[in-house]
């Protein structure tokens, strides 16, 4: 065996593993910590049976929006588990649990409301409720300021004359003076709301809410006057009555008047604002059983229709999700657990290293370095997985790492005991190492495969924490085989050809003891 090739293999392996880890750490990457290691909050919410996936996804969008507004949560993880009709919410590091729970635990309210005005900026600025922040005329006393309307189309926005006095009026409490939007939407009140289309709507109190809606379907109608994609909403019996009355009121207004439109609001956002059709006479309501909302035939009409139908179905969900599983870990418990895990891991490594050197002496050093290479590769793998796959490291994962230390140590023992056996049977020391590895490697691979199978199975079948354990254990098993072949083998072979091979207590030979049998001449 070419010594130089052995050296190259060893050095390359060590440099790659240590170097890659150093590089990754220098780049500021570190594994994402799970809830049980940094504190936080997780809840598994269930929707009623037969809730379809699109509705769940909408719920997730609403939750995400709300969590973002809360601000204090880093990297929320909200996902749909379609097979169970559940939503898994994980909020690591969240401080205010009650608000977070409220944000995700309740569904956004659906309401149907009359449109009063539509504008590019909030109609609050144009109808006198608020004064525009940059109007210099505010400072001049007793000047009459008329804010005219120059908005688009033929909207009949009311124009008000505002007289500013020395003391400007304070804005109404629930209104953001900068954006002109209502801060907390109460469907029983009028409000200024953002629309999905970018415009701002001034809407009145709701005449229908989510509890009046039973469902909605999107479809295609090849009609005469109005063909294209449509949404067919379904109302409850009470809702149908209210709907007819509401549309009767709206049809009083002329075509083109924003007040002929009905805003469909979900969670404070105007999702859609269809207009009562032109052919409906003034004062006549729409029959709830036969009504449908025409989206049209444009390119994305189908998507729009399906989205709107989903929104309506979402609105029909009960206001509160059922909580199947709640886990709240305080920050102190999280950091305590992390410290415990780290301490245990380091302690374990040190003890094992010690034991190896004490028992196998020179070969034990091989094991110690091998363990460091193994550790580097493992941390590298976990960090990269965290970065690119979003896998979090939980306490179970840390436990998996610690258990895998034992498994990798065992690989060394298999190898060293094999060397001992070959040596005692009379093989020369060098041959014992070379040949011993071949045989030992087969055993190592077999045993590691069994563990790997176990890990994969565990990963497939398990939920939650157990998955984390399976991942780290599985990766560790694979790395163990790699390290055994690319590091342990060449290092041991180099060692046996070097000064530490024979002579003395610490040498390889010393650890192996005297060979037995006739072929006792163990000369290299």
């Amino acid at each position: 065996m070419n010594r130089r090739r052995l050296w190259i293999t060893v050095l390359l392996t060590v440099v790659i593993s240590w170097g890659a880890l150093a590089g990754v750490l220098a780049a500021g990457l570190s594994p994402k910590l799970g809830l049980d290691l940094q504190g936080g909050f997780s809840v598994l919410l269930t929707a009623p049976d037969n809730t379809d996936e699109a509705v769940l996804e909408t719920a997730v969008d609403v939750m995400r929006r709300r969590i973002e507004n809360l601000g204090a949560v880093q990297e929320p993880e909200i996902s749909v588990i379609a097979s169970r009709g559940s939503i898994q919410v994980q909020l690591p590091g969240v401080q205010d649990r009650e608000r977070a729970l409220e944000a995700v635990g309740t569904t956004g309210e659906l309401s149907f409301r009359p449109v009063l005005a539509i504008d590019i900026i909030s109609p609050a600025f144009t109808d006198g409720t608020l004064t525009l922040p940059t109007t210099p005329d505010d400072t001049a006393p007793s000047t009459t300021t008329t804010v005219g309307d120059d908005s688009t189309g033929d909207e009949t926005t009311t124009t008000t004359t505002t007289t500013t006095t020395a003391a400007p009026q304070p804005p109404p409490p629930n209104l953001d003076p900068e954006t002109g939007l209502t801060i907390v939407d109460d469907p029983t009140q009028a409000a200024y709301l953002q629309g999905e289309d970018g415009l701002v709507y001034h809407v009145g109190p709701a005449f229908l809410t989510g509890s009046d809606v039973a469902g909605a379907e999107a479809g295609f109608t090849p009609g005469f006057s109005s063909s294209g994609y449509v949404v067919d909403p379904e109302f409850t019996s009470d809702g149908a009555v209210a709907f007819e009355a509401a549309t009767a009121q709206l049809s009083l207004y002329a075509i083109g008047d924003p007040r002929r439109q009905m805003a469909i609001v979900v969670d404070g956002t105007v999702e859609s604002a269809p207009q009562i059709a032109a052919d409906v006479p003034a004062g006549e309501g729409l029959d709830a059983d036969q009504v449908f909302i025409t989206i049209g035939t444009s390119d994305n009409a189908q998507t729009e229709a399906e989205d709107l139908a989903t929104i309506l179905r979402y609105g029909a969900l009960p206001t509160v999700f059922e909580r199947e599983r709640v886990e709240s870990v305080s920050a102190t418990l999280g950091s305590d657990s992390l410290q415990a895990g780290l301490a245990a891991g380091i302690g374990g490594l040190v003890l094992v290293a010690f034991a190896m050197v004490a028992y196998y002496r020179a070969l034990g050093i091989v094991a110690v370095f091998g363990l460091s290479v193994f550790g580097s590769l493992l941390m590298l793998a976990i960090t990269l997985l965290s970065e690119f796959q979003g896998t979090t490291l939980t306490l179970a994962g840390v436990t998996g790492i610690i258990v895998s230390i034992g498994i990798t140590a065992d690989s060394y023992i298999v190898f060293f005991e094999r060397i001992k056996e070959e040596f005692r049977r009379g093989r020369p020391l060098r041959g014992a190492v070379d040949h011993g590895f071949q045989r030992a490697f087969r055993t190592i691979v077999t045993a590691d495969t069994v563990t790997l199978i176990g890990s994969v199975l565990l990963w497939i079948l398990a939920i939650g924490a157990v998955k984390g354990f399976a991942i780290t254990l599985g990766i560790a098993t694979v790395i163990d085989v790699i390290v055994a072949y690319f590091f342990t083998r060449p290092t041991a072979m180099l060692l046996v050809r070097g000064p530490l091979a024979k002579g003395g207590f610490f040498s390889i030979e010393g650890a192996m003891g005297k060979p037995s049998g006739d072929m006792a001449e163990a000369t290299a």
Binding site: R97, V326, A344, V403, I453, A465
Partner: protein
């Protein structure tokens, strides 16, 4: 040469198989105790399996169990279980499954009574249906694991070995479960992990022994009975087995040590304890359960029975209890030498 030295060199001559009755008796006793406890006492299952609500907090206000009970009675939770641990510094209250608003109320009341902010409590709430699902999945995982592993061993070695290995695994499983039941450890999903790890180790160990046996059989099948080969193999791997157990136990011991001293790491401690027991059981079963069963079984095969008769004729003694023959001949077999060098090795 002392026993330890001989062990170190792999030269011990324990006749494991002849002494099997003793080991079977030990196993049998442990198994019986386990089964008894499992049927009578069953398990202390955590809320992850049964469903329920647990709130844990630092007991800043220093109230005692009775105080908490009265506070809880006000919201109708007088049946909740209250524990004060850590010499009065921590309080743990567990109760049945509660729905959303009730849960919030419960947590709020406990936090107030303990004198802490709601956000610094630790809450764990599980619905019963979810808990049942976890149980089902855990059992499923276990069953599939055993099936796949048995298949692998059957393919890599032979099916008789697979069955013997499975027997050893069931043995370990029952004993570990028995210990949990007898001592009253709480069974959590972490326990499931621990058990699967134990099974992994036990299997690993068993595979190593069987690997050795297979190797020796290949070499010595024309000269020795299966029992002799099995004995020899186990003697050879004894050191390795013990070493492996020790090094595996070191990191686990580290977990145990750290778990006992650091607060919030109770799960680590219980996990480590389970692993400790399990790894020990695993090593024991590979040598004292799996292999003797395998040997008994294999000896019923016609080829091996022929070997038994030859061995009996050769040494005039009962087959299987002549370790000297085994050791001698193997020495001969390892290196290219004429067979049957009858040199007493004492």
């Amino acid at each position: 040469m002392s026993v330890l030295q001989r062990m170190y060199r792999g030269e011990t001559e324990f006749d494991f198989i002849a002494q099997r009755r003793k080991w079977f008796a030990v196993s049998g006793l442990l198994l019986a105790a386990s089964i008894l406890s499992l049927t009578i006492r069953q398990f202390d299952l955590s809320i992850d399996f049964t469903g329920g609500t647990i709130v844990e907090a630092e007991n800043v206000s220093g109230l005692d169990v009775a105080d908490y009970r009265s506070v809880l009675a006000e919201i109708g939770q007088q049946g909740a279980r209250v524990q004060i641990t850590g010499e009065g510094t921590r309080v743990i209250i567990s109760t049945e499954e509660l729905d959303g608003p009730e849960q919030d109320e419960f947590v709020g009341v406990v936090a107030e009574a303990a004198g802490v902010d709601v956000d610094s409590t630790n809450v764990d709430a599980v619905g019963a249906t979810f808990g049942g699902e976890i149980t089902r999945r855990a059992v499923e995982a276990l069953a599939i694991f055993l099936a796949v592993v048995a298949g692998f061993i059957a393919w890599r070695f032979e099916w008789k070995m697979a069955l013997a290995a499975l027997t050893a695994l069931f043995h370990d499983l029952l004993i570990t479960a028995g210990i949990y039941s007898i001592v009253g450890f709480e069974v959590t999903p972490a326990t499931v992990i621990a058990i699967l790890t134990i099974l992994g180790y036990s299997l690993y160990d068993t595979v190593v022994v069987f690997d050795k046996i297979t190797e020796n059989v290949h070499e010595l099948q024309s000269r020795n009975t299966f029992t002799e080969i099995a004995n020899l193999s186990m003697n050879q791997v004894l050191m390795r087995s013990i070493n492996t157990s020790l090094t595996s136990l070191l990191p686990i011991g580290s977990l145990l040590f750290v778990g006992s001293y650091l607060l919030g790491a109770a799960t680590l401690r219980e996990f480590a304890l389970a692993l400790f027991i399990g790894v020990g059981a695993g090593t024991f079963s590979s040598i004292f359960v799996a292999t003797p069963i395998l040997a008994l079984w294999k000896e019923t095969e016609p080829d091996w029975q022929r070997m038994q008769r030859r061995a009996a004729r050769r040494s005039g003694a009962e087959p299987g209890v002549t370790p000297e023959v085994a050791v001698e001949t193997v020495d001969a077999g390892a290196v290219a030498r004429p067979p049957r060098q009858r040199r007493k090795r004492r």
